[in-house]
Symmetry: C2
Amino acid sequence: MNVKKIYSLIKEKGQRVTRQKQTILTVLSNNMDRMLSVHDIKEHIPQDQHMDIVTIYRNVQSFTGLGILDSMIDDRGVTRYVLDNEHQHHHYLVCIVCGRITNFPCHNHYWISYARENGFQELYHKLEVYGKCGRCQSNS
Amino acid sequence: MNVKKIYSLIKEKGQRVTRQKQTILTVLSNNMDRMLSVHDIKEHIPQDQHMDIVTIYRNVQSFTGLGILDSMIDDRGVTRYVLDNEHQHHHYLVCIVCGRITNFPCHNHYWISYARENGFQELYHKLEVYGKCGRCQSNS
DNA sequence: GTACATGCAAATGCTTTGCATGTTT
DNA sequence: AAACATGCAAAGCATTTGCATGTAC
């Protein structure tokens, strides 16, 4: 999903393409290798561009609703976002040192048999794998 | 792990078995079929027993450190706890309607090959499956 | 008696809400 | 001009911290 498609998606939904939205999307597209918190996003915005943190909160939530962003809640309960280019359900390897992420596909739901045994109807799942990426293993 | 073992574990670690700890453990052991937030635990404590919510925070964290509790962060970023009797790494089917949980074992890490491809060293992972339990499917 | 625990108050940090003003269309 | 968006201020929660007092051992 490129930027133009995102802009037209925003307009389709009756929303407006503002300077703030563009800035936030730029930051996210420059940081697709990690999950950014709202605070992180704010720090990546050039200082001469005043943007209220509330605007970031509102926009990342809106973007997530549009399927533009993937979100996850980190260990400290903080929500983090990343541009979702794949548009196919997938998961992340997350480096606990540098925060870098790598996608991997979702398949082989071995737990389906346990769900079935228990009469449990799965609606969705969350899976994240934490560890050290290649670079961070050598640096420690 | 029964209650007596828990008490001796607490003592082993140089900590003390107080009335408050006992009450918290009782609440958790009466609710092993769901994950309770600190606020939930407080609500389950008899009203004639004054207990500061800070005490609950401190104790559930301590218990988690001792391996007595399993914790997870819910959709709203709130930490929830459950007594961990299994002491073997496992995961949960979580009912999004009533909150009831069911354990299932952890095995078959299909993502290992993706981790290896990326030179990623896995340290741990989080997996939770959400949906509707048997009872809640019929009630809707 | 001593070391650990608790209660209370206050602070912190993330996130949400209300409302007046600004801006895109 | 109208509808949507932003900025600012303030509130709402979950959680943490500091410190004096209480209590298990």
